[in-house]
Amino acid sequence: MSFLEVRNLTVAYGAIQAVRGVTFSVEKGQIVSLIGSNGAGKTTTLRTISGLLRPVSGEILLDGKPIHKLPAHEILGLGVSHSPEGRRLFARMTVEENLRLGAYSRNDEAGIVEDLDRIYAMFPVLGERRRNKAGLFSGGEQQMLAIGRALMSQPKLLMLDEPSMGLSPIMTQQIFDTVRDLRAQGTTVLLVEQNALSALALSDRGYVIDLGRTTLSGTGRELLADPRVQEAYLGEGVAG
C-alpha cells in the first residue's frame, strides 16, 4: 500500500473538466513529480488532494484511508501540507506571522518555536528579517518562506506547486537542493513542475499529465530518457 494513492480522479469547474482520470501513487520518503504542460491539470490535482476542491469521481487514499471527502483543514491535520502555485504568502503579515500560520494546526508552543528556529537556520535570510512584511521580499525569498510555512505543520507529505516559477536558475537550484535535503530528513515530497528536467532529475518517480490524464509514468531517469517526454517537455529544459 502506497502512502498516497490517487485513483481515477475527475475534477470539474462547473461544466469544464480540468482533470479527467489522473492516477498515481507516492511512496513514503520519495520525491514524486507531476509534469506536464500548462493547463494539463497538475495544479487542480494538488488542490483536490489538499481538499480545496471536491472531485467529481475517483479516490484519494492517504495511508489507505480515503480523504477526498474531508475538508481542507482536516486533511492538513492528517499530515498533508500544500504550498500553492504562485506562493500566495500573506503579504501584509510578517515572516514570523506567516510561519506561525503554517503552524496554526499545532498547539505545542515549545515545538513551534523550535521549528521556527529550524526554518530560520535553513533559510538564514528569513531569520534576519523575521519582522518584515512578507510582501517586501524577492521571489526566491518568498519561495523559501512559502516552503518554510508549509513545513511548519510538520507534514508527512509536502506538496509543492511550481516552486521554481519566476526564479533565477541559481535560486531554482537552491530550492531544489532544499527539496532534496527535505527528503533526506524523511519528508515525502509531491512536486508539480513545468521545469521538467530539473524536477525529473531530482525525483524518484515521475508522472506525465496531459489534458487531465496521466499518460506516462516511470522513475525520474526512465522518463528523462523517454523520447516522448524529451520531445514534449524537455526541449526547452535541455536548451536552457
Binding site: 480545496l52 481542507a72 492538513l76 500553492p84 500560520l101 496554526y104 510555512r149
Partner: protein, 310 residues
C-alpha cells in the same frame, strides 16, 4: 462661543464612540467576506432589547437600582442576545450564499434587516413604540470648566467613550497578537490559503460575527442607558452611520472604524450646530460625507494603501 463649540465636540465624541463600536462589526465582516452586513445595525438594536429584557424580566428588583450590579448584567445580556442572533443569521442566511454572486448576500442582508426589526416590533411586548430603558449608571453631568462657561459631559457619555476605547484596544490586541486573530487576518487576505494552513474559514467567519455582534450588543445597551429609551428604528439609522464610519476609516481597519466613528459624530454634532438647516439636517450632512468619501476616497483615510474594490 467656545463653550458651545466644545460642547458640540463633546456631543460628537459621545455619538462617535457609539458609532465606532458598531462600525467595528461592519469593518470586520466586510474585511473577511466582503459583505455589507446591512443587518448589523439591527444586531445593535436587538442588543438593547436583550438588555431591556434582562432588566424587565430576569433581574431581581433588589439590584435594579444598584447600577454596579445592574449594568454588567445588562451588558452581558445585550451582548449575548446580539451574538445569538448574529450566529443564527450567519448560519442560515449568509453561509448558504458563500459562493453566490455579490448581489445575493447584499439583498439577503436587507431582508434580514427588515425581518429582525419587525420580529422585535411584533414579538417584544410594547416594542411598537419607544420603550423606557433603565438608566443603569451614574446620572447627571460633569461640568467641565472652560473659559467663558462650562462644557457638560454626561457621565453616561463618558462611559460610552471609555468603553469604546477600551474595547477597541482589546479587539486590536486580539486581532494582531492572538492565534485566532492571525487566522482572521489570514482568512481575510486569502481564504483558500488560509484553508491550506488548517484554518476552518467557517469558524473564523462565525468568530468575526460573534465579536462584531458582542460589541454591537454592548453599544446597544450603552445607548439605551444614555438615552433612557430604546426603539426599533435606532438600528437602521445608526447602522448606516456606522457603515459610513467604517468606510471613512478604511474598511477592514479596526482603528479606522473607531476614528471614522468619531469623525461622523463630529460631523453630526458640528453640522447640526453650524451648518444651514440646523439639527434637522444633521443626518443629511452625514450622507453627504458618505457619498463624498465613497466617490473620492473609497479606500478611506486610515485603511491599507492598497486599492479596496472601487
Amino acid at each position: 462661543m467656545l463653550s458651545t463649540l466644545l460642547s458640540q465636540i463633546v456631543n460628537g465624541l459621545v455619538t462617535g464612540a457609539l458609532i465606532g463600536l458598531i462600525a467595528l462589526g461592519y469593518t470586520m465582516v466586510y474585511g473577511i467576506i466582503q459583505l455589507i452586513n446591512f443587518a448589523h445595525g439591527e444586531i445593535f438594536m436587538v442588543g438593547s432589547y436583550g438588555g431591556l429584557a434582562m432588566f424587565t424580566y430576569l433581574m431581581p428588583t433588589a439590584i435594579q437600582n444598584q447600577w454596579y450590579f445592574a449594568l454588567p448584567l445588562l451588558l452581558i445580556a445585550g451582548a449575548a442576545v446580539s451574538v445569538a442572533v448574529a450566529v443564527l443569521m450567519e448560519r442560515f442566511a449568509y453561509r448558504p450564499l458563500r459562493n453566490a454572486p455579490r448581489l445575493a448576500p447584499l439583498i439577503t442582508a436587507l431582508g434580514v434587516s427588515v425581518a429582525l426589526q419587525e420580529a422585535v416590533r411584533v414579538f417584544y411586548p410594547g416594542a411598537t413604540a419607544a420603550l423606557p430603558f433603565p438608566k443603569a449608571f451614574v446620572e447627571g453631568t460633569w461640568e467641565i470648566p472652560v473659559p467663558g462657561g462650562t462644557v457638560p459631559l454626561r457621565w453616561t457619555g463618558l462611559l460610552i467613550i471609555v468603553t469604546a476605547l477600551v474595547l477597541t484596544f482589546a479587539l486590536n490586541t486580539f486581532v494582531n497578537n492572538s492565534r485566532m486573530g492571525r487566522a482572521m487576518r489570514a482568512t481575510s487576505q486569502d481564504r483558500d490559503v488560509a484553508r491550506l494552513m488548517g484554518i476552518d474559514p467557517d469558524r473564523v467567519i462565525v468568530l468575526t460575527f460573534v465579536l462584531g455582534a458582542a460589541l454591537a450588543g454592548v453599544a446597544g445597551v450603552l445607548n439605551g442607558v444614555d438615552l433612557g429609551f430604546t426603539n426599533i428604528d435606532l438600528g437602521f439609522q445608526n447602522g448606516i452611520f456606522a457603515f459610513t464610519a467604517a468606510v471613512l476609516g478604511g474598511i477592514g481597519s479596526i482603528k479606522g472604524a473607531v476614528a471614522g466613528g468619531f469623525a461622523i459624530g463630529l460631523v453630526k454634532a458640528l453640522g447640526g450646530q453650524y451648518l444651514p438647516g440646523g439639527t434637522a439636517y444633521d443626518y443629511v450632512w452625514i450622507f453627504v460625507v458618505l457619498i463624498a468619501v465613497l466617490v473620492f476616497r473609497p479606500q478611506g483615510f486610515f485603511g491599507e494603501t492598497e486599492r479596496v474594490r472601487a
